[in-house]
């Protein structure tokens, strides 16, 4: 495999990882706030904070890894995305900053403030919307290159049906993934009332998820026909995605095997995300950057791949340790530790 393929595969896997772990976190923030408003917080907030506390910093690193790696493997992306995303990017940073720090203030600072809770819940929905915009822009049509450099066509972006359908999809997916995970986690903690509540959320958000996916597909066919055609060629991936979706909803509906159901949800998004990504290639940013045109030199490519493998040898055992201690340690999950 060439460096550009190794690079984009690694990055896409990490972005997928971020999609899953961050969705759990973002959605949990929203549910925590919603539960507080509807006076159900005593039921689920304990579960949410037991899971989130040990892992939130790890979630952020997934994201940092993605953008640092992107610039490393494909330096041209720094120029194009950097030039155009100043304002949306800065807004996303501010939201992330508020969310991350307020989480710590709230949780370790022993102060339960409803302002923090609100910000924590609201940013959980705005951040995915803001980040999804970067993917929208990469479809092309929203950036113009002139002799003065490149610039973002903000007007087009704000009036495009495609861009809004992506935002919508991002938000509902977050809620869906998060509730699927929390159902599994609450069940594992033997916390019946919490499980019942988040299970309801999961079933509720399943239909908007599938509707949003279809709308985005249709909007894509209007906006970028090339990408749409390539995705049709990969129809089986999207078919698998829908099948896993149905399987997950079925299991949760039947109150069976919540762990498996969450794995199905992960597969659902895995296939959709990789189907989307594979169709996107060879472009990273249509029509300006392709994989081949922007890939870094061989020396750096090799160094990055070696660094990556060495890094994984360090990380995977550590991550397994973390998961065994907090995710799969039944006593911890139940709150006995």
């Amino acid at each position: 495999m060439s460096y550009e393929l190794v690079g984009i595969t690694v990055l896409w896997i990490f972005l997928y990882g971020y999609l899953i772990v961050a969705s759990i976190d973002f959605g949990a923030g929203f549910f925590a706030y919603y539960a507080k408003q509807t006076k159900q917080d005593h039921i689920i907030n304990k579960i949410i904070s037991r899971y989130l506390s040990p892992v939130w910093e790890v979630t952020n690193v997934f994201f940092v890894f993605f953008f640092v790696g992107l610039i490393g493997f494909f330096p041209d992306t720094a120029y194009y995305f950097g030039q155009t995303l100043l304002i949306p990017g800065s807004i996303a940073i501010v939201l992330l900053a508020i969310r991350g720090s307020f989480y710590a203030f709230e949780n370790y600072g022993s102060k339960q403030s409803s302002v923090y809770m609100f910000l924590y819940g609201a940013t959980g929905l705005f951040i995915p919307a803001a980040l999804a915009t970067a993917l929208t822009i990469s479809e092309g049509g929203f950036i113009e290159e002139t002799s003065n450099g490149v610039r973002l066509l903000t007007g087009e972006l704000l009036t495009s049906p495609y861009s809004w359908s992506v935002v919508f999809l991002a938000i509902v997916s977050v809620l869906f993934i998060s509730s699927a995970f929390l159902t599994f986690y609450a069940n594992r903690a033997n916390d019946k009332p919490a499980m019942e509540l988040v299970r309801k959320y999961m079933i509720f958000w399943s239909s908007p998820t599938i509707i949003a996916s279809l709308t985005t597909f249709i909007a894509m066919s209007q906006h970028n026909h090339r990408h749409f055609e390539k995705m049709l060629d990969l129809w089986w991936m999207f078919g698998l995605s829908v099948a896993f979706f149905l399987g997950a909803v079925f299991l949760v509906y039947q109150k069976k095997r919540f762990g498996l159901a969450f794995i199905f949800v992960m597969f659902q998004f895995f296939f959709a995300f990789f189907g989307y990504g594979a169709g996107h290639l060879p472009y990273l940013l249509e029509p300006y950057i392709t994989l081949q045109s922007s890939v870094t030199n061989d020396a750096m490519g090799l160094a990055l791949v070696i660094a990556f493998i060495a890094g994984l040898c360090l990380l995977i055992p550590s991550l397994i340790l973390l998961m065994r201690m907090f995710l799969f340690d039944a006593d911890y999950v139940k709150g006995n530790k």
């Binding site: 910093e57 952020n60 690193v61 720094a78 100043l86 800065s90 992330l96 720090s101 160094a303 907090f326």
Partner: protein
């Protein structure tokens, strides 16, 4: 008058974010080491006072880590948003340490989570202590990697540049450039120094305001000895940094020292002012000391600003930054030395009110020294973003509206700064150490001896 164009605005926003991040980054690098030391002493001496110390420091630390992480994420993204052309070049040559840094973050984050949530989980407390080691190493490694990037900007190597195409890239040579050893050493030692000094300052403040308990006296002793030790290391590292500058980046040293003419046996100028003809007035001169600082020999030749075209020399006000950093370093050394001497002499009391106030001041002073040091190092690189290859003005974004982003981030940092201070104060004042000690370790009496 300054021009408010994208370049100026990008510089101001970068400076703002870095100046804010560096406060939390310094704490993030240094405090884990102090926590680890305290917990270890607690286990070895079987003294719960130290264990509680580690515990309480950790609780404050998570708040500062959170702000460190979010501001770090901000600077990471802003590098591309504000310096897209620079990052395009840098991405080709120096992305290896940036990439490795994310692994260091990962490593640190994972074990920090493990450390935080396993305090009473093991029968043998040494297992819990072991989790602190990867946190200390991870934090040190992230400082190491990011500092190699900054070193690269000062003494770039490991590539050839023809127009805008880069060839002959050697990532390791770029990473291990001439500035790396001294910079890494100095950044690490000064982070440890500053963290120890801040913890000592907080302790001294509490002793002054409330009655002092054994817990606080032990904390003060530990942090002051650490301050003394790291102050010596920092001074050594600073001296090596100056020698490095004299060899590799003489224009920065010359501007910092107001050394205009190349000469042998150069004097070291402390403070002072410049008149219209760039002549030094009102300064304290240490004869031949600059030669010694530069090459370890009082009669050696030191390159002056006359060797460089005027448009390629940094602004002369960095002289004050350098002097202030060094003075504050001497202050830290002096205060911690005084404490140690007084504590050894039976006739004197190291918990003297005046000494405690000097120790309280030392905390903010050390953090100021970090800021002055960075300003000296960064502004001293001007006008270059990549010394000798790319000017700052060529690296900046051309997008409009950077000024609005500057305001946005200014607001964000003020908010984060104010709230984190308030949260930290509340965290500790609501739960004083004496009360927590009794509650958690009832077997320890207030003098810290097992009953």
């Amino acid at each position: 008058m300054m021009e408010f164009d994208s370049v100026t605005m990008s510089r101001m926003l970068t400076s703002l974010t870095l100046a804010f991040h560096i406060i939390f980054a310094t704490i993030g690098v240094g405090v884990p080491l102090m926590i680890s030391i305290a917990e270890f002493i607690g286990i070895k001496k079987k003294d719960a006072n130290y264990t509680l110390l580690a515990r309480r420091w950790t609780r404050g630390f998570v708040i500062t880590v959170a702000v460190g992480v979010v501001t770090g994420t901000a600077i990471g993204l802003q590098l591309s948003l504000l310096w897209p052309s620079f990052m395009q070049v840098a991405g080709n040559v120096i992305s290896l340490p940036l990439f490795l840094e994310t692994f260091a973050f990962f490593f640190e984050a994972i074990f920090l989570g493990a450390y935080l949530y396993t305090w009473d989980r093991f029968n043998n407390p040494i297992y819990h202590w072991l989790f602190s080691i990867p946190v200390v190493i991870g934090a040190g490694m992230s400082a190491f990697f990011i500092t190699t990037v900054n070193s690269f900007m000062n003494t770039p190597q490991g590539f050839e540049l023809e127009g805008r195409t880069i060839t002959d890239i050697d990532p390791l040579e770029a990473m291990f450039n001439p500035a790396t050893p001294t910079k890494v050493f100095h950044v690490l030692s000064s982070s440890y120094l500053t963290s120890a000094a801040i913890l000592a300052a907080i302790t001294a403040f509490i002793i002054l305001k409330k009655k002092s308990t054994d817990y606080h006296k032990k904390a003060l002793k530990l942090t002051m000895i650490a301050t003394f030790f790291f102050a010596i290391l920092t001074a050594i590292a600073g001296d090596l940094s100056a020698k490095f500058l004299a060899d590799e980046q003489p224009e920065k040293l010359a501007a910092g020292e107001w050394h205009f003419e190349t000469e042998e046996g150069a004097d070291l100028i402390l403070f002072g002012t410049l008149n219209e003809d760039n002549e030094v007035e009102n300064a304290l001169r240490l004869p031949n000391a600059l030669s010694f600082l530069s090459h370890g020999d009082f009669n050696s030749e030191v390159v002056g600003l006359d060797q460089f075209p005027e448009e390629e020399t940094p602004p002369l006000w960095i002289h004050y930054m350098f002097d202030l950093m060094v003075m504050l370093g001497m202050y830290a050394l002096g205060v911690s030395f005084l404490y140690i001497v007084l504590s050894k002499l039976k006739r004197w009391n190291e918990h003297n009110k005046w000494l405690l106030w000097l120790i309280v001041l030392n905390g903010p002073f050390a953090m100021l020294a970090i800021e002055f040091g960075w300003i000296f190092a960064e502004v001293g690189r001007q006008p270059w973003i990549l010394r000798g290859y790319m000017k700052v003005s060529e690296g900046a974004t051309t997008s409009p509206h950077v000024e609005w982003m500057l305001l946005l981030f200014l607001g964000l940092y003020i908010l984060l700064g104010v709230i984190s201070v308030r949260v930290l104060r509340k965290l500790f004042s609501d739960n004083p150490a004496e009360v927590e000690l009794e509650h958690r370790y009832p077997e320890v009496d207030q003098r810290g001896v097992d009953v």
